[in-house]
């Protein structure tokens, strides 16, 4: 930079110009450059960027929505499961209760029946015993009659004939 130039710059600076000078050529350049930047970047950078960002945001919001739905569904399923579990438990409890009750009644029935049967059997046995006893008594009587007859026949064989005698004895026996 030669001396003249330096002096010019200094004078420029001293007068307050220089810094605030407006160069129309530069301004037009700035406008042109900015315009080109704006159009090319809009077309090749900002537009695709905004589109992809929008697509991404949509995917994200969809995913969030989906997750929310899934969570709700899961909660529903869990609630239903719990409900079912409770119902099943109740049901099984009922079944057990019922089983116990029916077992109780069955046992009581069986016991009652057995008791009844045993009493019937006992009664029958008693009756049989009674009948046997009667029979035995009858048989004993018959045998006793036979015995008496035999002995008395031997005793009084000569006095009476056999039939007369038997009739007499039977008559006496019936009177007894």
């Amino acid at each position: 930079m030669n001396t003249l130039d330096t002096v010019a710059v200094v004078e420029h600076a001293a007068s307050g110009g220089g810094l605030f000078d407006i160069d129309p050529g530069l301004m037009i350049w700035a406008w042109v450059v900015f315009g080109i930047l704006f159009f090319i970047l809009s077309k090749f950078a900002w537009k695709p960027m905004m589109e992809s960002v929008k697509a991404r945001e949509k995917i994200l919001s969809d995913a969030v929505e989906h997750a929310k739905k899934t969570k709700e569904e899961l909660e529903n399923i869990a609630a239903r499961q719990e409900q079912m579990l409770k119902e099943t438990q109740e049901h099984s409890n009922q079944i057990i209760e019922q089983g116990r009750k029916s077992a109780d009644t069955a046992a009581r029935d069986i016991l009652e029946k057995a008791q009844k049967e045993s009493s019937v059997l006992l009664e029958r046995a008693r009756q049989q015993i009674e009948a046997e006893k009667q029979q035995a008594i009858l048989e004993i009587r018959e045998q006793a009659v036979d015995l008496v007859l035999k002995t008395s026949e031997k005793l009084i064989f000569d006095v009476m004939d056999k039939d007369k005698h038997r009739n007499l004895v039977r008559k006496h026996l019936e009177e007894l």
Binding site: W31, V33, I36, W46
Partner: protein, 287 residues
């Protein structure tokens, strides 16, 4: 950026200032000129301290001369970087973002959810989001590029920030007209049921306010970016004014300011985008 990289950068910057002094053939140092030269636009580009500066000549096609300066070159570099980063990262419409997209998407979402949507609402915000994203990344990259030696800060040039503010200004009108209609847009500026003279005054005031708002938008960005570089440059120039040993004070301080500048680069890009969104959103809102 790691600290030692920043140190290296500062040393390079110091060297570049040193060479610019050397070019002045041991003339008495003119500090303001050196500093101003460092941040202002020119037809010469100094890629590295010891290389010869590259002369950029205007492109002439026939009778029309198209200016071509250092800052225009920077703009073109920014365009190349933005295209090179964003188009491969986003052009394939993949559902899952790639590596670069993964890094950039949080920033984009920040611009969308924290700057644009609160100011403009979701409907208009989505429509204008490409504009704000372009604005944000253009400014951010301009700010950051200026922190790397061999490149200069185009947002430290008032013409560029004014051009950006003009774009925002025209978008305010465009959006306002498309949303409320030509008359409705201007009607929005005047509160209902006002006597005519006052209404006229308020209308002029509103119009003036719109202009001021946009000028401030331009000045804020420009002043912030320029100031940071001036501070760094001044700290480094101290080495030549005070004593060569001042390097041990100046360089760490310049590194600290550079770190701050990284933050400022982000903040200013954010502020510019946020205010633009607010202004554009305000233009179409019904009072």
């Amino acid at each position: 950026m790691q600290i030692h990289t920043l140190f290296f950068i500062k040393i390079l910057l110091a060297l570049s200032i040193c060479t610019s002094f050397a070019e002045q053939n041991q003339e008495p140092l003119d500090l303001s000129a050196t500093l101003l030269e460092h941040i202002s636009d020119g037809h010469e580009w100094h890629p590295l301290p010891f290389l010869k500066p590259i002369h950029l000549s205007p492109l002439s096609t026939g009778s029309v001369q198209i200016p071509f300066t250092q800052h225009i070159l920077m703009m073109l570099i920014i365009v190349v970087i933005l295209f090179g980063v964003f188009i491969p990262a986003f052009s394939s419409k993949k559902i899952l973002p790639g590596k670069t997209a993964n890094i950039l998407e949080p920033v984009i979402f920040f611009v969308r959810d924290s700057l644009v949507y609160p100011a403009m609402g979701k409907e208009s915000g989505e429509k204008w989001l490409p504009f704000f994203l372009t604005l944000f990344f253009f400014i951010l990259l301009s700010n950051l590029l200026g922190l790397i030696p061999a490149f200069s800060t185009i947002t430290g040039n008032f013409s560029i920030t004014v051009a950006l503010a003009c774009i925002v200004f025209s978008v305010i009108f465009f959006h306002g007209f498309s949303k409320c209609g030509f008359i409705g847009f201007f009607k929005n500026m005047i509160p209902k049921g006002m006597p005519l003279p006052i209404a006229l005054f308020v209308f002029l005031l509103e119009l003036f306010g719109l202009l001021i708002k946009n000028s401030v938008l331009a000045v804020r960005l420009f002043a912030n970016m320029m100031a940071g570089h001036l501070v760094i440059g001044s700290l480094l120039v101290l080495i030549f004014i005070i004593h060569p040993l001042a390097v041990f004070v100046s360089v760490p301080m310049a590194v600290a300011i550079s770190l701050l500048e990284v933050l400022v680069a982000f903040i200013q890009a954010m502020v510019f985008t946020m205010l633009s969104a607010i202004f554009i959103g305000m233009a179409s809102s019904q009072h």
